[in-house]
């Protein structure tokens, strides 16, 4: 069905709906046809950056996991890292887009972290190696991530030209950017993305007797 080297399978644009807002429906699957979850779909307007509103987001730590796995935020968004576990965590990121470290803490850190640079940020916990989460910092408010069915929907996109970016923390290679036209109709996108399976790092059980 797909030709090698062509990540974009098809972009079907339908010219329907109100003229003031468009919708993008994306479906991301692996070359073998498995739906890809947690893929970021970002439409960046070619007309210029849209200044972000200072918003808040949160990535919580529960049951020794970072949740959600992927968080997409517009630049300058502050993210809180509430710790819902009864013990401490030590979050860190060595990513160039945002390097930070929240040393052992419980509850909610004193300050949320503001992601003021677009890029990919890998988050880990220094004392729980398996804990892993990603933050994609983008210069656009139009983004969505695929669910477990591989589908993502970006609504209320003003019509216009956009650069479409697809990203996944475990993508095997970076997909080229592609421009699309968003009109009144819902634009449909089928994307093929080669993604390495998520490595579930061994997580020791909590049972004290066993550990």
């Amino acid at each position: 069905m797909t030709r090698p080297g062509h990540a974009w399978l098809a972009i079907l644009l339908a010219c329907s709906g109100p003229a003031w807002a468009g919708t993008l429906e994306a479906y991301v699957a692996t070359p073998t046809g498995v739906a890809v979850a947690d893929a970021a779909v970002v439409a960046e307007p070619l007309s210029g950056a849209i200044p972000g509103k200072r918003t808040m987001d949160a990535i919580e730590q529960r049951d020794r996991e970072l949740n959600p796995y992927l968080t997409i935020v517009q630049k300058d968004t502050a993210i809180e890292f509430p710790n819902r576990d009864p013990f401490k965590h030590h979050l860190y990121s060595f990513s160039p887009a945002k390097t930070f470290e929240i040393k052992l803490y419980a509850g909610k850190p004193v300050k949320p972290i503001v992601f003021d640079k677009s890029g990919e940020v890998a988050l880990g916990c220094n004392i729980h190696d398996w804990m892993e989460a990603y933050v994609l910092v983008v210069d656009s408010p139009y983004f969505a991530k695929t669910g477990s069915n591989g589908r993502a929907l970006i609504a209320n996109i003003p019509p216009g030209h956009y650069r479409l970016r697809l990203w996944h923390p475990r993508q095997k290679k970076e997909l080229p950017l592609r421009e699309i036209e968003i009109g009144a109709a819902t634009a449909k996108l089928d994307a093929v993305m080669d993604v390495a399976p998520r490595i579930v790092k061994p997580k020791p059980p909590l049972d004290h007797d066993q550990y």
Partner: protein, 781 residues
């Protein structure tokens, strides 16, 4: 020679068997040891290989753990994440020291070597060990042995640095050097070497082996296949080896020294071999001793047997311990004693005359062999006169005692060098050593003189006379048989001539040779019908007619002409051939007589019977058959018997004579006057006629004494009812005298010579008896 000796055979068999068994045991043990060593080797190698793999894996795990702990260190990760190469360089040095790694390298996720403790390179360069990387990319981590640029071998662990996603790879190297190899060797019990293989050449990177072997190893390596145990010769020492490839260019070679594995078995084998050899030696010595104990008595027995074989019965067989051989020796000794005594008896029987105790003929012949070849000697044969008469008159026991008495006397007469033997019957022989004719004569005379003393046997005085014939060595013969024969001839001649002593040299020997050849030819002569019958007419003096004729055998020899009977008949008698001649003669004569009768000629033929004929039990039947079958009356046949023929076995002769007389045959005593038979004896015989020997007839004309004897004999015969025949009438004077003295019949050349049968009828027809008798004036014409 080796196997002839019983002792050696025993030793060889015993030791050979033991050696065989021992060799089998040794071979079995050796073979088994070989198998045990092989399987032990295989087991050790396999176990060692297993342990080696486990150790390496375990070691690797520990290293991995260390590497992972290191790579997870927050500060370390932080330092890597800074991407500041100088920082990274110091960090890896520092952290490498923490875990005791000799080499640390940091590689970017895209395969660029960022930092390396061995080289502080200015710019990132591609990481050389792609395979480690590719395995790590798919497996999460990787490890392997690599020879790094410093030429040393390292065990390298490649683990990711995650924060939490992969930010770099860190390679941690632990040197695998000889110490590492020795440690592993100590734990696996195998020699451990890591080798680099590059085509045909090989290099040892690390090894627990010593320097020499390590240097020798590359030469052996090309023969080694991967993962297959095989024997490898390293510096002349065999190793069971297995090669485990680490990667394309390196491999671990694990080795077990075959010699070391074999060592305990070798020592076991050498101990066993020593025991076996010692056992064989001890066994050999024991066998030798045993064999000696067995063989020594056997040898003693064998020596005794050889002595006995050589005729030495004197030495007793040694007495031995009372085992089987001892019993054999005892039996052997008894046998020796018995053989000795039997040999004595046999010798006695062989060489001694049982009657007289004198030597026998065999002994005499042997004794003669001892007469010096260049010396002189003589053999004399003595025959008693009239012994048969004594025997028949007084009985055999008296005769035997007489003979033994004579033997006793002769024994006293002889010197040591001489020997007397009884040959048979009344015939004795003397061997005289170193005598000439004179000495022999003197000896013979002394013998005869000695015999003149009467011998008393059972109270009867017996006068004994004898005739002696002497043959001298060397002139009369070279050997005992010849001398005996010639002495016997001489004795016979002496007896015939009524002399006491005759020498062989005096009677000549030519005749004897002729006789010898004649004897041989007689049988063929019979077959070739060379024998003829001549008839000599017998003139009946009362009637002047020829009423009978004496049948005389003649031999028409193809070369010698007509052979007279005296030349062969005595030998025919001696050899027994007469038993074939007489029946032939009887048949011939009877057939002829029957023929003549048919022709009208009545002749009573006389046939001479020898002593053998007379004793032949078949003779009477033969005669009976002949006269019956030819219808000849018994009275028509006359049998002439000499006195001596009667003397051989007087009793049997008399019995046969009686039967012949009973048949009606006419019986005549031949050669009367030569022997010693008295008329008194003759009258007891059933005979009808007496033939006076020619010697008397020859002498009647000129000797009144002879004439008186003949005259009285005729008178006596007539008185006894016997008719008288005079033989050898050669002159008319003799015939006249015989006619004048009432002799009944005359025979002789004057009347007629013997003539062939076919001439007789004509001769009789033409015989003018008249002229003869007329001349004597008997017949009035």
């Amino acid at each position: 020679m080796i196997f002839r000796s019983l002792q050696r055979r025993i030793v060889i068999v015993f030791v050979g068997l033991l050696t065989l068994v021992m060799a089998l045991i040794l071979a079995l043990v050796t073979h088994n040891n070989g198998r045990v060593v092989d399987s032990e080797m295989a087991r050790e190698l396999s176990a060692g290989t297993h342990v080696f793999k486990l150790l390496v894996e375990q070691n690797q795990r520990q290293l991995e753990v260390a590497a992972k702990v290191l790579s997870a260190d927050f500060a370390f990760r932080e330092a890597i994440a800074t991407q500041d190469r100088a920082t990274i360089q110091t960090v890896i040095r520092n952290h490498g020291l923490r875990i005791g790694a000799q080499v640390m390298m940091v590689i970017s996720p895209d395969g660029q070597l960022i930092a390396d403790t061995q080289h502080a390179a200015a710019n990132p360069s591609p990481f050389l060990y792609r395979k480690l990387l590719s395995v790590a990319e798919s497996e999460g981590q990787s490890n392997g042995f690599r020879q790094l640029q410093d030429g040393r071998l390292y065990q390298i662990i490649l683990v990711p640095v995650q924060a939490p996603q992969l930010i770099a790879w860190v390679a941690i190297g632990f040197v695998a050097d000889d110490k590492w190899a020795r440690d592993l060797s100590a734990m696996t019990g195998l020699a451990v070497s890591v080798v680099q293989r590059d085509g045909a050449s090989a290099a040892v990177l690390a090894s627990s082996l010593d320097r020499r072997k390590r240097l020798a190893m590359p030469f052996a390596l090309p023969h080694l296949a991967d993962n297959v145990p095989q024997a490898l010769q390293i510096d002349d020492e065999p190793y069971q080896s297995i090669q485990l490839p680490l990667d394309q260019h390196t491999a671990v070679v694990l080795q077990r020294s075959i010699e070391q594995a074999e060592a305990p078995y070798r020592s076991l084998q050498s101990v066993l071999l020593t025991i076996v050899l010692a056992g064989i030696v001890i066994f050999a010595l024991g066998s030798v001793m045993l064999a000696r104990r067995i063989v020594r008595p056997v040898n003693q027995l064998a020596a005794a047997a050889r002595r006995i074989e050589a005729g030495d019965y004197a030495e007793a067989v040694p007495s031995l311990p009372p085992d089987e051989i001892g019993q054999l020796a005892a039996s052997f000794d008894r046998m020796r004693a018995r053989v000795a005594s039997r040999e004595q008896k046999i010798l006695k029987l062989a060489y001694q005359d049982t009657l007289t105790g004198l030597a026998n003929r065999t002994r005499l012949l042997e004794a003669f062999e001892r007469v010096p070849k260049d010396g002189r000697g003589a053999i004399a044969i003595l025959n008693l006169d009239r012994f048969a008469l004594i025997n028949s008159a007084l009985g055999h026991p008296v005769g035997d005692r007489l003979l033994s008495e004579i033997g006793l006397r002769f024994g006293h007469l002889l010197s040591n060098a001489d020997l007397v033997a009884r040959l048979w019957g009344d015939e004795f022989a003397f061997l005289l050593v170193g005598v000439d004719q004179d000495a022999a004569t003197r000896f013979a005379e002394s013998i005869l003189a000695n015999l003149r003393d009467p011998i008393t046997v059972d109270g009867q005085r017996l006068d004994v006379a004898a005739s002696l014939g002497v043959a001298l060595y060397p002139q009369d013969g070279q050997d005992a048989a010849t001398l005996l024969r010639r002495a016997e001839s001489a004795m016979v001649a002496a007896k015939r001539q009524h002399k006491n002593i005759a020498f062989a040299g005096d009677i000549g020997d030519e005749q004897q040779h002729e006789q010898l050849s004649l004897i041989g030819e007689m049988r063929e002569a019979m077959a070739r019908q060379e024998f003829l019958v001549y008839y000599q007419p017998k003139l009946d003096l009362a009637s002047g007619e020829i009423l009978g004729a004496e049948a005389l055998i003649r031999w028409r020899h193809p070369e010698r002409g007509l052979v007279p009977p005296i030349r062969f008949i005595p030998f025919a008698e001696q050899t027994g051939f007469i038993r074939e001649i007489t029946p032939w003669l009887l048949e011939n004569v009877i057939v002829q007589t029957a023929q003549w009768q048919k022709e009208g000629l009545c002749i009573v033929p006389s046939i001479n019977l020898s002593a053998l004929d007379l004793l032949d039990p078949g003779l009477i039947d033969h005669i009976t058959r002949l006269i019956d079958s030819h219808h000849l009356p018994a009275q028509g046949l006359c049998l002439e018997i000499t006195e001596s023929a009667l003397m051989e076995d007087p009793a049997l002769a008399l019995a046969h004579l009686g039967e012949l007389a009973a048949l009606g045959l006419k019986l005549s005593i031949d050669d009367y006057g030569v022997g010693q038979a008295s008329l008194a004896y003759l009258k007891t015989l059933p005979v009808h006629e007496l033939k006076i020997d020619r010697t008397f007839v020859d002498a009647v004309a000129d000797s009144p004494k002879n004439a008186a004897i003949v005259q009285s004999t005729i008178a006596l015969c007539h008185a006894l009812g016997l008719s008288v025949v005079a033989e050898g009438v050669e002159t008319s004077a003799e015939l006249d005298w015989l006619v004048g003295n009432n002799c009944d019949t005359a025979q002789g050349y004057f009347i007629a010579r013997p003539m062939p049968a076919d001439e007789l009828p004509n001769w009789i027809a033409s015989y003018g008896v008249g002229p003869i008798l007329r001349r004597t004036g008997w017949l009035a014409t």
